[in-house]
């Protein structure tokens, strides 16, 4: 149980690092996916180690995987539009709204 939680914490840490440091929008999307996967792993681990084991955790992860797939589709479409308009996907350079 503890080992699953430690793996999940490591995934979360890598994801937060990517979110805060990286400049490429696609890499930021990678980081978001890693964080979502850390949450999924926690859900399944806690549901499995309950006494008696519950299947609701797996149901929630089912929803979460579908939501993450949607988020990736919409995020990649947004990145495509941003690239078409600005010919860069460096998020530090996408500052047109700054006056």
């Amino acid at each position: 149980m503890v080992s699953y939680l430690i793996v999940s914490a490591a995934l979360l840490g890598i994801g937060i690092y990517g979110l805060s440091v990286k400049r490429n929008a696609i890499r930021i999307l990678f980081a978001v996916e890693l964080i979502v996967n850390a949450a999924n792993l926690n859900f399944v681990a806690f549901a499995r180690y309950m006494n008696p084991p519950k299947i609701s955790g797996q149901v929630i992860v089912f929803y979460s995987i579908a939501a993450a797939a949607m988020e990736a589709a919409v995020g990649l479409a947004l990145i495509l539009v941003a690239f078409r308009l600005n010919s860069t996907i460096d998020v530090r350079k996408l500052n047109k709204l700054k006056g």
Partner: protein, 146 residues
Amino acid sequence: MALQAKELIYGAISLAVSFIGIAGFFVSLDAPYLAMLQIAVYVGAVVVLILFTIMLVRRDEPDKDEAGETGEGAAGLWLAGLLAVSIAGIAALAGPNLPSTPPPANLPISQLGPVLAGVYPIPLIILALLLSGALLGALILAKVER
């Protein structure tokens, strides 16, 4: 690692490898259906979508990816490391209270369907509507105006 690879394509491939690893964790947690779903959705759909997007937005010049010069890189590393270590520490401290061996498994896959459609039908419907809406929205966003 998925985030540090020099070439973005290699990063996407290592992301796929880590998703397969998480699917392995799901198998070891007696959730084979979720492992199958993880491989089908993440490795099959999301990573392929990411690869297509990388090919569409590709540029030849190597762009600077780290925000290193302002010290943001080190700060982000410290933040993430501190967070991960503290969460892992809390988990390790709570370790004696957590069960170390799982209770015997009685989670057949056939139980998943009735729970999904019988106990939680409303979220399933909302999810279906949200999924079709999001995919239509992505299609409209990515459509080339002419």
